[in-house]
């Protein structure tokens, strides 16, 4: 599944990210499942609000990390979309 730069990703209604203070890392929770995230993954998902496009998210994070992250952001969101943990328009 490919995700266009203009797609607007968002978490499904049934999923949320929280900080697990036992393991000291962010985690994506959804019905009967949990995916532990690294800092970058959590930063990407925090911007998946259904309004920002993949390109917007990559631009914001790229500015933060001073590098081009569009390919990495796209690949990360594609693998979550494949597992239906991220929804998107477009």
């Amino acid at each position: 599944m490919s995700l266009a730069p203009g797609a607007r990703p968002r978490l499904p209604r049934s999923a949320r990210v929280q900080f697990d203070d036992v393991r000291r890392r962010p985690v994506l929770l959804y019905p009967e499942g949990a995916v532990f995230l690294n800092e970058t993954g959590a930063a990407i998902l925090a911007l998946c609000d259904g309004r920002r496009t993949v390109a917007d998210i990559a631009a914001e994070l790229g500015a933060r990390y001073q590098t081009d992250v569009l390919a990495d952001v796209t690949a990360y969101l594609e693998q979550l979309a494949e597992r239906e943990l991220v929804d998107h328009d477009g």
């Binding site: 209604r13 049934s14 949320r16 929280q18 697990d20 036992v22 393991r23 985690v27 929770l29 959804y30 019905p31 009967e32 499942g33 949990a34 239906e84």
Partner: protein
């Protein structure tokens, strides 16, 4: 270091209005008098979160018979647990759906026994169809994630297309199609429930098609029939690795079927902390890791994927929980499973329905 658990199944009660012949509860059901009190469940959940648990299944029996369910849900929500209610939906009202949601419940899973009232109520052993349809509509409208759960077996597998259509019509976000696992009541009823290979081949083709057709609207999860698999299931992600169950009476187990392993003793949350039970107890350490394994598991390259399969199944079929799961094609006991499959060609015997024990005098 021992792994931390991610998931706790809280069996709040064994009381249930249904009598399904494949019930996953043990044959020896816990009576109401032995059930943990509200504060005890709240302490268990607090300890579970501190141990690392993130996912909570509120199950039973029928968890709705606990009048303190909303209180327990609210406590779990306060801890940051993601809560799922696993219910028959009997006794559910619209007000209670909303009260549970407002207390912090995030996911409701309603069981259906078949695609139509007649056969479904025959399996459930009680009138239940209309109540389930009503409850499904409230669950759908509540905004919580909504799963329809159907246990599959010989007597409903041929209705699979209608079952999938029912779940879609009810607006389920998820449909869990779980082939019967043969422990406890289901093992008692195995000759009435075990499907034929032909039934399963048809079912798998239907599931594949439906999973594609409903992609994006209803996620279809299919629990494999392990008797028909070449290799065993990685039971609960490995014994004492990610999963634990607290039974209604406070006994803590690595799997809901584990109480049938009579060679193990299970500790009680009334006597010990959950942390001690997880890390130190004889039951949880018995089959953790690989040290307990024998041939062929001990040197098998699959041992890090399936952990030797299911200990409960090894005990149920061979009487020895250390043996390789007999469903494995490498198990010396595989003939016992094949003999059970061969019997599925014969007409099914009558169900032995799940019943609570008679009240002690």
């Amino acid at each position: 270091m021992t792994d931390r658990p991610t998931t706790l199944l809280a069996e709040l009660t064994h009381r249930c209005p249904l009598h399904c012949p494949y019930c996953s509860n043990p044959l020896a059901l816990a009576r109401r008098e032995s059930e943990l009190a509200t504060e005890e469940w709240e302490r268990v959940l607090t300890e579970a979160r501190a141990l690392g648990v993130l996912q909570l299944g509120l199950s039973g029996g029928e968890p709705l018979v606990r009048r303190d369910l909303e209180e327990i849900v609210a406590h779990a929500h306060g801890l940051g647990l993601y809560s799922t209610l696993v219910t028959s939906a009997l006794g559910l009202t619209e007000a209670r759906v909303l009260a549970l949601r407002d207390a912090g419940l995030e996911h409701i899973q309603i069981s259906f026994q078949d695609a139509q009232a007649g056969p479904a109520e025959r399996i459930a052993g009680t009138k239940s169809w209309d109540a389930k349809l009503r409850a499904a509509a409230w669950a759908r409208a509540s905004g919580m994630a909504f799963t329809v759960n159907v246990v599959l077996h010989r007597q409903n597998l041929d209705h699979l297309e209608e079952i999938i259509a029912l779940a879609a019509r009810l607006g389920a976000d998820r449909l869990e199609l779980a082939n019967t696992q043969y422990y406890g009541w289901a093992l008692e009823n195995r000759d009435a429930l075990l499907p034929t290979r032909e039934q399963l081949a048809r079912a798998e083709a239907i599931v594949d098609r439906a999973a594609r057709a409903h992609r994006g609207t209803m996620r279809i999860l299919y629990v494999l029939p392990d008797y028909f698999s070449e290799f065993p299931k990685p039971c609960q992600g490995g014994w004492g690795r990610v999963y634990l169950v607290v039974a209604p009476d406070g006994k803590v187990m690595p799997c809901h079927a584990a109480s049938q392993i009579t060679s193990l003793a299970f500790d009680d949350v009334r006597a010990r902390s959950l942390e001690w039970i997880w890390n130190e107890s004889a039951a949880f350490t018995a089959f953790r890791g690989e040290g307990w394994m024998r041939a062929p598991c001990a040197t098998c390259e699959r041992r890090t994927q399936d952990y030797g399969g299911c200990r409960c199944q090894a005990f149920a079929i061979t009487g020895d929980a250390r043996r390789t799961d007999p469903v494995c094609s490498l198990s010396p006991d595989r003939a016992l499973v094949d003999a059970a499959i061969a019997r599925a060609a014969a007409p099914p015997p009558a169900f032995r329905y799940r019943e609570m024990p008679a009240r002690a005098t």
